[in-house]
């Protein structure tokens, strides 16, 4: 059982500098050929300041900083049994190469649910990202499911 005393816990902020190559690597792994992510001039032509981060890019700081693994350990759930249930984004501003993001992650809720495949714990996290100008850029909501 996940540690319910962790509800409302905020974790120390984590930071991540956005690199152009990392934006490109992610869309290339996905197979998304939209040139705005690959070529600066195409991005500018389409109304961006530079090659923007793609819609699911924010997973990169989440995973590469290991913050998600830290949270999973802190709420005492078994990483090997965790599945991703939901992911939700609210886009406030574009994210560009050179931006330094700060993420603040909070445990919103921990619930137990029984279904046809047994019982599970549902852990809802929210992360707010700001940039180097302290402007909000993105809000993320993540639902983790721990199978029992």
């Amino acid at each position: 059982m996940a540690d319910k005393s962790m509800v409302n816990r905020e974790f120390p902020p984590f930071t991540w500098e956005v690199e152009r190559g990392k934006i490109r690597e992610l869309v290339q792994a996905i197979g998304d050929k939209n040139p705005i992510y690959l070529k600066r001039e195409e991005a500018v032509k389409a109304g961006y300041k530079d090659t923007p981060a793609s819609p699911t890019f924010i997973t990169v700081p989440m995973m590469w900083t290991n913050i998600l693994i830290d949270v999973i350990k802190a709420v005492k759930i078994n990483y090997a049994k965790v599945l991703h249930g939901e992911e939700s984004y609210e886009y406030i501003q574009e994210i560009y190469p050179g931006d330094v993001l700060t993420g603040k992650i909070k445990v919103i809720s921990i619930d137990e649910k029984s279904g046809k495949s047994g019982s599970m714990d549902l852990i809802r996290l929210e992360t707010l990202y700001t940039n180097q100008r302290n402007e909000q850029v993105l809000k993320a909501s993540t639902l983790l499911v721990e199978r029992k």
Partner: protein, 142 residues
């Protein structure tokens, strides 16, 4: 590059262009692990998948990336305001994912022209792997 899209051009019920992805392959999963930083061996090591009792499965976030690709092939990314997915099923190597979507609502709200829609990613067996939702703020035709 998506063509310019205006609020007036869109109607409830409009379908977004269907996106049929190439089969998910194991090299792609390794690439996605490296790009995203999600090194859970469940996604790249068949033995780890077996040990977990579910077999090797793709990163859910990779499939969310497919859905994002379909949406932003239609509505320029700069207009996208919200994007939500529920992971409804697992994707395995060699699965072929098809993304579809349609506009469910149009509204003018405090100076913004908002379009909402639903999204589905299905595999070759017609099983839903992602059910999602998007919201975009579109420009007005002058």
């Amino acid at each position: 590059m998506a063509a310019e899209l205006f609020f007036q051009d869109i109607n409830v019920g409009d379908e977004i262009p269907m996106l049929v992805k190439k089969p998910v392959n194991k090299v792609q999963l390794v690439r996605y692990a490296g790009a995203s930083g999600d090194f859970n061996p469940l996604h790249t090591d068949p033995e780890a998948g077996k040990a977990a009792g579910i077999g090797q499965i793709a990163h859910g976030m990779l499939i969310m990336g497919f859905v994002a690709e379909a949406v932003t092939n239609w509505v320029p990314k700069i207009y996208l305001r919200k994007f939500t997915v529920r992971f409804a099923g697992m994707t395995r190597p060699d699965d072929v994912i098809t993304v579809t979507g349609r506009v469910t609502e149009k509204k003018q709200d405090s100076g913004s022209d908002i379009v909402k829609g639903e999204l589905l990613a299905k595999n070759q067996k017609d099983e839903t792997v992602i059910a999602g939702f998007f919201e975009a703020a579109l420009p007005d035709k002058k």
